[in-house]
């Protein structure tokens, strides 16, 4: 992937200032929440594993900020920004990671395996790509009811080798469903590099075979992702069917916090660090005078306070009682 500067051509569609500030805020909040979780993990305060999306924040955010309240998103485990832009709070994230009874799964599930359906955020499961056909089903319901909502479904490059991914994309294309599939291509499936995952050059080539428009963009360029998502979302909203957007990025950590990632060459991390999406986006916002340093300071202060308050509340909150295990298996 080339390390180009942010796409700043004036002729291209550009989000307004409010949207730009929102994007910056959610990208920074994504990183701040996960930085707090990394501290907690090292302190042994997290009961389970931790998977972060450091360096991948642009992708979830640039899609989700374009959605309305009734649009649906199925994020995957490095797309925390997508959860946040759809209305999930830092407190809900912390409650969930800590397994507390007031969390979105009441202690039932771990890490980013959760949704908040009132915000139309669906939950993925550990079986990679399982949400690909499920998200198509949400889009099918929208189409059946003749509504103009859309569905965004996020998956990593690793999940594009699974059958569910292929069956889901094919169904979405054949049934012309209002959905955008987004691939967070961070170039590794746990320890397996792309070259051992597929014999084509891009994930988009795989998607293209199912008969939908595809794009491959620099996933560390928030504006490029925004601009790629916009026509794809418009196409879905207009009832013209699915699209596929591949966002190439760098996984800046191991698979999880437990993984030192010795198998990743150091040049990879260096390239990722040079193209950090938050840094690039911030520099562009400042250099193009779209926001001032004061705006950015205000966002940083607000996020710091929000994260610390949310963490304190979550840490003070109760675990569910053991016998609650038995509750909620069935809908009454």
């Amino acid at each position: 992937m080339s390390e180009t500067a942010l796409s700043t051509h004036d002729s291209e569609v550009s989000p307004n200032r409010d949207v730009l500030l929102k994007m910056l805020r959610y990208m920074k909040l994504h990183r701040a929440i996960e930085s707090r979780l990394e501290i907690a993990y090292r302190q042994g305060k997290l009961v389970g594993p931790l998977f972060v999306g450091t360096g991948e924040e642009a992708i979830g955010v640039a899609g989700a900020v374009q959605l309305g309240a009734k649009d649906v998103i199925f994020p995957s485990h490095r797309d925390l920004g997508g959860f946040l832009a759809k209305g999930v709070s830092a407190e809900q994230v912390f409650l969930h990671y800590l397994g507390r009874k007031d969390g979105p799964t009441r202690g039932r599930d771990a890490n980013l395996h959760f949704g908040v359906w009132e915000h139309r955020v669906g939950s993925f499961i550990s079986h990679m790509a399982a949400t690909v056909p499920v998200a198509a089903g949400a889009a099918f319901a929208i189409k059946s009811r003749n509504q103009a909502h859309v569905v965004l479904c996020y998956n990593g490059d690793g999940s594009t080798s699974r059958g569910d991914w292929h069956e889901g994309l094919n169904l979405a294309a054949v049934l012309e469903l209002p959905i955008v599939y987004v691939c967070v291509n961070n170039q590794y499936a746990y320890s397996t590099p792309l070259s051992r995952q597929m014999a084509v050059d891009t994930v988009a080539e795989r998607a293209s075979g199912y008969g939908m428009p595809v794009q491959t963009v620099d996933g560390n360029d928030a504006l490029a992702v925004y601009r790629a998502m916009q026509p794809a979302i418009a196409r879905a909203r207009g009832g013209l069917g699915p699209s596929f957007v591949e966002c190439v990025t760098y996984r800046m950590t191991g698979h999880g916090a437990h993984d030192p990632a010795d198998y990743v060459p150091k040049e990879f991390f260096e390239a990722g660090a040079r193209t950090d999406p938050i840094e690039q986006f911030t520099n562009w916002l400042l250099s193009s005078s779209r926001v001032s340093p004061f705006d950015i300071d205000a966002i940083v202060r607000e996020i710091e306070a929000e994260v610390e308050t949310a963490w304190a509340v979550a840490e003070e909150s109760d675990y569910p009682d053991g016998p609650e295990t038995l509750e909620g298996v069935y809908a009454d």
Binding site: W117, I125, A130, P133, V134, A141, V174
Partner: protein
């Protein structure tokens, strides 16, 4: 007189007319009307968005039905054969079955699955996969053995807010005929039915094996009044109360199922009976089941494989004499 499969077709038709959120999805169910014609004529009335033909992609259309149900729709999935549910096992057991537990939202999908042997379908068209799903909390599993129940259980399954595996027995499709009510009715999930009353032996069964048990009764004319036959109808959750009440009365138990022996529901029922009413038992609990092999193709092999009325009668008379 209505056939078992016509009762299923009527159940689908009536639920689709009653509720616009009900839709059907599966392979060859639209223009073709389904491999067994359970959806014959429905696309003409409801169109291709409510009778949805799909590619051969069981995991795909199962996942799709789950997503649509999360949005408040009530999909009815048709697997062409219950054997092919294995292709969607992950979506059913890990996604559909856990969604309410994890997210607190209902997944009202009905999975229709033509099941069972008796027509020389061989290893991949004759299976009884119910126990994979009975072992999965969050699912319900039903298996109608009569025309009345085929319709009533289907309607109850579609109206239920949980994912329900509805195992319709292929062997019964056109062999069973009954007069059933014209008006709307449901058969509640989780309730067994006492088909024949008796005082000396409880036979617990379901699906096509109900008819093997009824045939056994004909082979044992001297034991009329001794044999009680209970059709479980729902396997998950099964009707513990009806089962235990019967065992307390008869003191002897025979369990009959077409699914394979090891890990069949007979084992679970035996454990519950032994645990709850051991002191009422007057004989060992016995079972008649298929053997632990794949379902074979050639007629002498499949005849050997499938339990029949004589097999049931033999063990029933041994138990009555015990």
């Amino acid at each position: 007189m209505t056939t078992y499969i016509e009762a299923i077709r009527q159940g689908l038709l009536e639920e689709m007319r009653r509720d616009p959120d009900v839709f059907l999805i599966g392979e060859d169910i639209g223009a073709f009307g389904g491999a067994f014609k359970a959806t014959d004529g429905l696309m003409e009335e409801f169109g291709p968005l409510r009778v949805v033909d799909t590619p051969i992609a069981e995991a795909g259309f199962t996942g799709l039905s789950i997503g649509a149900s999360m949005m408040g729709m009530r999909p009815v999935v048709e697997f062409q054969f219950s054997d092919f549910m294995s292709c969607a096992f992950d979506q059913i057991t890990n996604f559909a079955a856990t969604t309410h537990y994890r997210l607190g939202i209902p997944v009202p999908v009905t999975f229709r699955a033509p099941t069972g042997g008796g027509f020389n379908g061989g290893p991949f068209h004759s299976g009884c996969p119910e126990m994979y799903y009975v072992h999965t909390p969050g699912l319900k599993v039903v298996a109608p053995g009569t025309v009345y129940d085929a319709k009533g259980l289907l309607k109850a399954s579609i109206r239920d807010d949980n994912p329900v595996i509805y195992l319709e027995h292929k062997h019964l499709y056109r062999r069973l005929k009954e007069d059933i009510p014209e008006e709307d009715y449901v058969v509640p999930l989780g309730k067994a039915s006492v088909k024949v009353q008796g005082t000396g032996l409880t036979i617990l069964t379901y699906g096509a094996m109900l008819h093997a048990c009824l045939a056994a009764l004909e082979l044992l004319p001297d034991h009329r009044g001794a044999i009680e036959i209970i059709d479980l109808r729902t396997l998950l959750p099964f009707d513990q109360e009806t089962i235990l009440d019967s065992v307390k009365k008869t003191g002897k138990v025979l369990i009959v199922h077409e699914a394979r022996r090891t890990g069949g529901i007979a084992g679970e029922l035996t454990a519950v009976i032994a645990d709850q009413v051991f002191e009422y038992l007057d004989a060992p609990i016995r079972r008649v089941t298929a053997p632990d092999t794949p379902v074979p193709y050639a007629p002498p092999l499949e005849d050997f494989y499938l339990p029949n009325g004589s097999d049931v009668a033999k063990v029933a008379s041994e138990l009555l004499a015990y």
